[in-house]
Symmetry: D2
Subunit: 354 residues, 4 copies
């Protein structure tokens, strides 16, 4: 119920600051009997980890997952599964200048307004580093969803205004942009490098497609599947929008164009403007959505801001930061989608009498 | 926790089908001492009611609110406030043909898949009529927010591809499109009429701006204010996307362009690409977002579909339906925003020691 | 999450004051496909209704249940099932004297302290009348549990210090005390009459046994089955204690006496000091508990109290009140137990991988 | 919402098995600005720790608390506060014999039935060791409650049938029984030693009094303060009953005896049969309740049981176990009460308009 908890049955509580002792998550509701592959969890964390390429920060966060509970001989026991990730490369001194002024585009100002106190070291809880705990939890959700045949794939659809024109699933993890179009990936990488050279950053659009979800998941009227996915995605600090299926384009379509006709067959939908969700319930077709990712707010240019006494000042952010967050947010998007779907899968078991 | 409940402290549970006996809502967590103006609740329901203009359905739903509990001499007592709205104009025979086939773009197929049973009368629970209960609850939330100086205004930013070019708040409720641009409103109304004449429907984009929210509302990391608003908006069946502030456009901006600089002053933000929310917490600036509304799926053209035995068939939907849902979804958008904000306002009271 | 909601999956929200327009409940999470027998719901309400005998108040509350949603042709559709009960026999004038002073043993003082406002008509929300909504919801839970072979039986074990010495299930509903011992019942009835004649009231102990619950229900570590039942029972205003199995007597036993040995067999437990619950999980044996019910606080003797200015005064409560609440609380105890068990039954479906 | 979470605003999620890597808790909702005294948390854990006296097990569990997040320079930041306690003295071999048979009085049988898998090492999650995480969380709750002047004191009222006859608060922590009557304490200690010498165990009754709670806490109708406390206490595996104020004795009283009259004064209640709670809301008087603690099920006598193939067998439990759990459950009782009260204190902030 608290702001750091998510999900009803597959329920997680995360904790941890960027430069605190550790990040972590308690996952309650992991179905007993699920094999827990720690190597898979670690490999998902490695996908999110900084320092994977020139597109991302050079910090080495390590991000070694340790399971503290809930698993016996590699099998989930049904009790809470806790995972912690120690922080090792903290360099707190990098942030000492920021103590009394607010970084534009960051949550410094609002954390101060909300709590009256704020952990300035690396952004504290508002740092993107917090998402490591989500990825660990999402990996467990993925292990569960794999047993149901559900597959989640996120990818860079656009970076710095450059769009993927082709879609090759196998290509995604082969380039540092995580773009399904190898040519577009090269242009994206170049654009990011150029922005970085200019002490600037770029944004992009992440697509996500989910295959294998049977018809019937989602809990109307408020916990519609798209509502839960939107909640999940907008809970990522860098995300400024989401659209499902035809999305914003559907606003300019007519009903006769936008409605997905049905025909006999295993997947009866002729088209998929709905994005795989009707009335908030999965329809058995591929679920797809796209999210808008803003350019990284941490840039090393001089910016105008105010200090905590309200006086004007300037700042240059000198730490190591991703010039583009898109490649590293991709595993986080998958993780959040997995958490939503794992919960919906379990909730659907309670829907009918038999 | 169930799918028909929303909110933590200001917590609502709604019920009711399109053609059942009644719709309604139980609101728990209304602060004791709040004056409850039943006329205001009714006026909000009237804004959502069908039959207001040629843009909307000719059905007369009446939508008379009755308060059953929680109010004494016009003052909320702190106990649950229940409101019911009897269904009066049901005409169940209109829907008899739909019993064994699935309307394209509707939730017929997915409700069947989820529950194994479905109320075909007017779409049952999946009907937009369900939102009447949300509007009643939202009206109570608005009464609370008014005591805090919060004002929520939604409007038609685009209908049938026609965009509002000017923004005059006073104009919104004067035209049936609820468009802040009187000239655009005329063109919108004409476009809707044209689509209706062609047995078709159109979609649009609804904008929403919220003034008066102090810095500090929203509950990171999962219940960020934008995450909750996105959850609320995507829980409306016709909504296919949402964006905050610069939204999808921010994906093509650089950090130096997208960051909102700060300067001394009561509202320190020079620009508002953030849409009034930073790190999931309100920053004291105007909150704004836009949602994509799909064209009404109920159209009287012949459409291809299947019956519940999986065989191909066609259908023409003959009932009375809105050729454009935008004008009537506007009070619902405001209601859902009010529910989110009322809850965040109360939660913020628990955040600090003092 | 709010105080008038209960349950996670089988989730209810109740509303209503003693002398308001209506009482009611919204039940979300009723499994789709469950046959809903309105006559059974009504018969349960009739068991709780006042005026059944000389032991209980002469008020005629009628308590006619109306289902507003969630049922189609007698079958639950999986959407929220709302039930209302109109208040018909209100006689508000009976309570006019109580407006500015606090009835001893009642919640008048504490509602005032909590909310700063209180509905004095019949105790408002703090009236036992509120439990009618629980009984309606519990009846639906019972309908679900019946499909699983679960049977809940509550009964008067002690009234006015007179104990049931024999246990005949068939006898319970035959006497107005709802006592399984016909002889004790007569003595109880006499004792209640005597207290009433002396403008006084008596309390008692209600026993409850639950048969047919399979091993495995309950959600450690906080939502143990006994913890949930205790929560449910202590949420009844008149209940001052609960004990399971050997209960308070186990405090004086040795481990060798209290442990229930196991032996081969369908029900392996040789004894049942545990009351059918081990480690918070049902063990397949009969579940049993007892609750302490305080004497009705409304008595027509003169009592010392204070008014809302803090001055001493006296009052005589003149309305019609049960001299003993035990017989009428019995269906409420069953209802609350049913709500707990229905929820646990559904939650257990999510516990394992397969 | 999951079984290992507790509380709404002051919300905890615990994890950990008796012989896993670590136990711990994530506390969300700690008010920002609260000073966090790690030494106090440790001292509370020390009160629960085994090996404090001959009454308790000789295991040395160490129970060193480590705070991982949510605290900056000794002050809570409002973000989740995570605490872990590493397990150090595990001796798994002690439990190897128990793998295929069920200990009487333990949750072995029911965990198997529920999850289909069970961690046999020290009882896994069903071990009383799990309560260390509760004590750590409860210590933080106590720190918050101290700022409000609330004081919680639990004590041994009865052990092995020997009752405390006098009540000296200062005496409680001076004797290993935690009994407020020094003479009774001696007799209790002797009785425990005698039972232990006979390879047996004893139970008892724990009293708890809470001072300083203002009138107004508790959330009717389901989350009454006594309902929440009952939920909290019955969530402890060894507890078989609870009673408030006059408790079970009130069942034999008349209304004229049981009602607490009011008189002018700061605490207007002349008597306290209610136990400080009326209608589920604190009345400003001392809150008090008593719980029944069963004798420790782990005894080294031979006991009859079955193995997991359903065959009869016997077992002698050879590990180190408390012959009486009462002294060590006392800090746990206080912790659970503190968690309930901290949550109610924060919820009460949301109840009124002003």
């Amino acid at each position: 119920m608290s702001g750091s908890s998510f999900g009803k049955i597959f329920h997680i509580s995360t904790f941890g600051e960027s430069h605190g002792a550790a990040l972590g998550v308690v996952i309650d509701g992991v179905p007993a009997g699920l094999p827990i592959d720690i190597n898979f969890i670690q490999s998902e964390l490695d996908r999110r980890r900084p320092g994977q390429s020139g597109l991302t920060t050079a910090r080495k966060e390590g991000d070694q997952a340790e399971i503290l509970s809930g698993v016996l001989n590699g099998i989930a026991t049904g009790t809470p599964l806790a995972i912690i990730i120690r922080n090792t490369d903290q360099r707190s001194k990098d942030y000492s200048k920021l103590e009394h002024s607010f970084r534009p585009g960051h949550a410094d100002y609002t954390y101060n307004a909300k709590y009256g106190i704020r952990d300035v070291r690396g952004g504290g809880r508002s740092s993107g580093r917090e998402t490591a705990a989500r990825v660990a939890a999402g990996a467990v959700a993925k292990l569960f969803l794999q047993t149901l045949g559900v597959k989640i794939t996120a990818y860079a659809q656009e970076i710095a205004g450059i769009k993927a024109e082709t879609f090759d699933t196998d290509e995604i993890e082969k380039n540092p942009a995580r773009c399904p179009d190898a040519d577009a990936a090269k242009a994206m990488i170049e654009a990011v490098a150029q922005a970085a050279a200019q002490k600037d950053s770029v944004g992009g659009i992440v697509g996500c497609q989910i295959c294998g979800v049977p018809a019937g998941w989602g809990e109307p009227v408020f916990d519609k599947l798209d509502a839960l996915l939107a909640h999940a995605m907008l809970s990522l600090g860098a995300v400024k929008g989401i659209e499902f299926g035809a999305g914003f384009a559907s606003a300019a379509l007519r009903g006769s164009e936008n409605n997905d006709a049905l025909q006999p067959g295993a997947n009866p939908f002729v088209t998929n403007n709905a994005g795989g969700i009707l009335g908030g319930i999965s329809n058995g077709d591929e679920i797809n959505f796209r999210i808008a990712v803003k350019p990284t707010p941490s840039i090393s240019q001089e910016q105008s801001t105010i200090d905590d006494s309200g006086n004007a000042c300037t700042m240059e952010i000198t730490g190591r930061h991703d010039p583009c967050i898109v490649p590293r947010i991709i595993p986080v998007v998958e993780a959040m989608a997995a958490l939503v779907l794992a919960d919906c899968a379990l909730l659907q078991r309670t829907t009918r009498l038999d």
